[in-house]
Subunit: 239 residues, 2 copies
């Protein structure tokens, strides 16, 4: 059984402002929920249409109709959970950090979080205009990686001004990354999908890098920000 | 004005079977349509809610309500075009080829096509179970790259048996790609999102490669197939 208050809470959590205010976020789908249950995230509520032996207290069995009421998906999954948003830790500036300057697409942010996890990046720093990492579409795309990457939303300009690390930025006209010696600590900055790195951030970049296009034929004008992140992180980590 | 026949044709093109039968596909959005108009693709029909000076004959101005009728999108764009599916060219086996073994997600295929374009891969070979490259969501994700990559759907097992090239496959337990000397011709094989490369294809792989995870901590169990393609193509092309 779902109470009115539960429905109200979950519906509100669609909006970033309520997520921030209430400190909870929603996850749908058994696979991702299971991943998050294995982490140190705190479960607040769990609704399923059939018991999945989640070994979780708070599991409430509901009907398909009830799930439809609270699901954010057009074709609801069989489970929906509400977790507490974890406390963020201070940024560790002794390692390689990834910084995002206004990445807007939830799928891209989710993929980047998963890449950070794969490549051992513990700190992801996002400009305040970057899409919220607790957006349900981001959570879906992270495949559980959200629990292993510490994500801070900051005034990116102030952060970069303070931090004493080399600042690598992805630019179309940057130096060939394959011919660049990359450090094992620094900040790797990726820009917005349409506009790239903004001017105010560009001024703070110490090293502009670029992934060269292969061949001379006319090709796609740019790489997607998530695939560019994949290739650049691979370059930083390949040794 | 839209005719009944035009509506019927466009609606049918949602389905792969009609795309194959009729030889047309649908593109929505001004940016992608403009890209395709600059290619050697043949335009069949173009509907817009306002003239965009596309410099295209066949431009028909329609109302928002009419566009809504034919659009595949929940929030229709301002333009929809129907293009002729181009003839496929024979596969050039003197170069690096990318082969997909049942990639199902349209976004992933679109991203991979864009990556092929960037990295100068002229031939993409897809198993017959791979998502259709003229699926509207694929077209959207390719950002025009679809016109510069020759895509063949084949019985992948037969193709790989015939072709006399080294066959590199992405496997979790493959050799560290960063320590592998990669050729400038061969086939790079990527598998299905959930199951990876299938057994029958695995038997034909001559070199299993893998992108190593960084660090020893528990991390995401795998990379997304499109980001893995990005990193592997980068390794093949970085020289």
């Amino acid at each position: 059984m779902l109470s009115k208050n539960q429905i109200k809470l979950i519906t509100r959590l669609k909006q970033k402002k309520y997520r921030l205010e209430l400190g909870f976020f929603v996850v749908e789908g058994i696979k991702t929920i299971k991943e998050l249950l294995q982490s140190n995230l705190e479960l607040h509520m769990l609704f399923t249409t059939q018991s999945f032996n989640f070994d979780a207290k708070n599991e409430v069995i509901i009907t398909d109709t009830e799930l439809k009421k609270i699901s954010f998906l057009k074709t609801p999954n069989t489970a929906l959970a509400v977790f507490k948003i974890p406390d963020v830790k201070p940024i560790d500036t002794t390692q390689l950090i990834v910084a995002l300057d206004d990445v807007r697409d939830p799928g891209n942010l989710g993929t980047i979080i998963r890449l950070c996890d794969w490549f051992g990046i513990t700190d992801l720093v996002c400009s305040n205009q970057t899409v919220d990492c607790f957006n349900p579409k981001v959570i879906q795309a992270t495949m559980g990686s959200i629990t292993r990457v510490n994500i801070n939303y900051v005034d990116l300009e102030s952060f970069l001004k303070q931090v004493e690390l080399p600042k690598y930025g992805a630019f179309m006209e940057g130096n060939n990354v394959y011919k660049t010696t990359l450090p094992n600590k620094g900040v790797l900055i990726l820009g917005n999908e349409a506009n790239g790195v903004s001017n105010s951030i560009e001024n703070l970049v110490t090293n502009k890098i670029s992934i060269p296009r292969f061949g001379v034929l006319q090709a796609t004008e740019s790489l997607n920000v998530a695939t560019a992140t994949a290739i650049l992180l691979s370059e930083f980590r390949r040794g």
